[in-house]
Symmetry: C2
Subunit: 390 residues, 2 copies
Amino acid sequence: MPSTQILSTTQQSQYQAIDTPFLYVNKPVFINNLSQLRQKIEGLGANLRPHFKTLRSLEAAEFLLPTKNSPVTVSTVKEAEALASKGYTDIIYAVGIADGKLPRIAKMLDQGINARVLLDSVEQAHQLNHFCGSYDCQIPALIEIDCDGHRGGIPPEADKLIEIAQILTSGAASFHGVLTHAGESYQCFEKQQLIDAAQNEVAAAVQAAERIRAAGMQCDIVSIGSTPTAQSYQNLDGITEVRAGVYTFFDLVMAGLNVCQLTDIAATVVTSVIGHNPDKNWIFIDAGWMALSGDRGTAEQPKDCGYGLVCDDSGHVLSGLQVITVNQEHGIIEAVDGGVIDLAQFPVGSRLHILPNHACATASMHAQYHVFDTDGDNGGYEIWNRVQGW
Amino acid sequence: MPSTQILSTTQQSQYQAIDTPFLYVNKPVFINNLSQLRQKIEGLGANLRPHFKTLRSLEAAEFLLPTKNSPVTVSTVKEAEALASKGYTDIIYAVGIADGKLPRIAKMLDQGINARVLLDSVEQAHQLNHFCGSYDCQIPALIEIDCDGHRGGIPPEADKLIEIAQILTSGAASFHGVLTHAGESYQCFEKQQLIDAAQNEVAAAVQAAERIRAAGMQCDIVSIGSTPTAQSYQNLDGITEVRAGVYTFFDLVMAGLNVCQLTDIAATVVTSVIGHNPDKNWIFIDAGWMALSGDRGTAEQPKDCGYGLVCDDSGHVLSGLQVITVNQEHGIIEAVDGGVIDLAQFPVGSRLHILPNHACATASMHAQYHVFDTDGDNGGYEIWNRVQGW
């Protein structure tokens, strides 16, 4: 939530001087999100390996990662290279590897970065061995486990799991462990469903690791995680680390799953009113899909939030208002559930905050984040830059 | 369409050296799209004022705009400033103006740039006069006309049209004309519907201009346009200029409206296969919504193309294949209509091209475009940079 009502006078001028639309980050809310999950996961005896894909900002990494050796997950080689350039050393690239990307991974290894790749097929394991043999390097790999039929991975009980682990351990590459992601947890709208999904994720990863060890191989990393399940683990015995990303900013999809409250949403899009359609009772804003993204992640949730819920400039949710349409640089706000907007309360030029459906998607539309620290008497203002591209 | 089969040997090496995913532009197709529409509109006696929002690249502007005085449309002040920095002088910012943006417009006017703003309310007209009075400048404005109930604007027959024009002509600002956009043309799937939408757009703009002139005021600019209607005008009497943007790259939404062929699509996303799910007969690619955008513009068309159609690395459409799901850095390709994919034909590391649903949205996800000129024996390769932000 924006909480701009508690900005200092200096911050208010800084805030007003930024042209809309822009991404506003409430730093204390962000910091609290980071510490809450870290405490929970470390309290259960596992490491937290935050996913960098939501933030993709090296300035943000200083808060996300306590030390240069803190574990981190990335979704692109570009993120890994950016983190490596700042001295972060413990990286998993958690998207299936294609051999065209291996030279950049090998280069990071040469620089002393512990960069690992992910795969789920015999074909990829052979490709990796072949590359490592040709380039005289030893790229470590994890095997992706399918815990819930969501996307890719090897079922924990499959013969192929052992076969792939053997190809990696006996070849030029190296084998570091298993990794799974409970993607189906985004469909769990009941607390017990989330607890079950979390337990299932743990069980699948532990089963895979135990089978590999029973076959005589080491399995150092047992990695699980998704923001919904990360909030719901009861017991992490056998798990070495948990990955999550969206918890850093949180969003309406997560609020719809009851894994956060609206007040935990740390990133909002600040927008200006640019017109009205009195006949249709619409407010036009300068935040279209370029600023909000076109994400419709709440469309299949019990409460559909359109393209985002609306807060006033002080951070209070305007009940019943939604962004119902986005074009490139236009958004349309309407009252849902039969409400009526008093358009005179929203003059052209006035500012609103839009709570995002999906923080990863909304943040991806912004090359810079405008970060306000509302704690203390002389709260700061920082610009964080986003690492772009692949 | 990619047409990579006709790349020269040098180009093939350049193409292979670019890490996926990336935006590939077939330059001859792009150039042909530009000249086709320019010929048509100029042949009907109007000027073409291309919309820069699709391309947002100054390198591309050299092809889009024949001279530094060529008319151009923008959707952000940032685009206008970028074009102004390169000496382009004739700019309409075609999104409703909020007064917070006026200082940057005034600065461009000071630099000799003819930058105009758009508004559709008495409130905005008074705000503009007030600003111009306070800052001793004369910002020119157009009035947005609502021709089809799509979004904003003043109906051409409304009393308010004359009232706003009078406020502008009698105040510190200045009045340059009227502008409309047939946004509803995106719903016209029959040729005759498109012709009707085009005629309606012309009629609304001409009616508005004539009413303003009948009230004793000048109305120099009579501006209309959308890519679907731009292909369908029969007669542009009374119209001074036509705006369109997506025609530069074209896309599946436009192909679905029959205003282009698949072979006219100039921009595709090149992606690598990163895995398979044999049980589900899925191909995983490294193009998720970060590379493709999450646009689902074909969802409401007769032919739903998912998140994009699939071409092989030589540019041939792979019949029946679609990107059915996108996550941040994963796409899933499936055979629709009961087909089956022979996964062995798509090994990990092989490349595919994805035809985009919506060129504006897909291009917006890429800071750089990789442009291949396939004409001639020594075709070139260029990188075009995208102007980012607001």
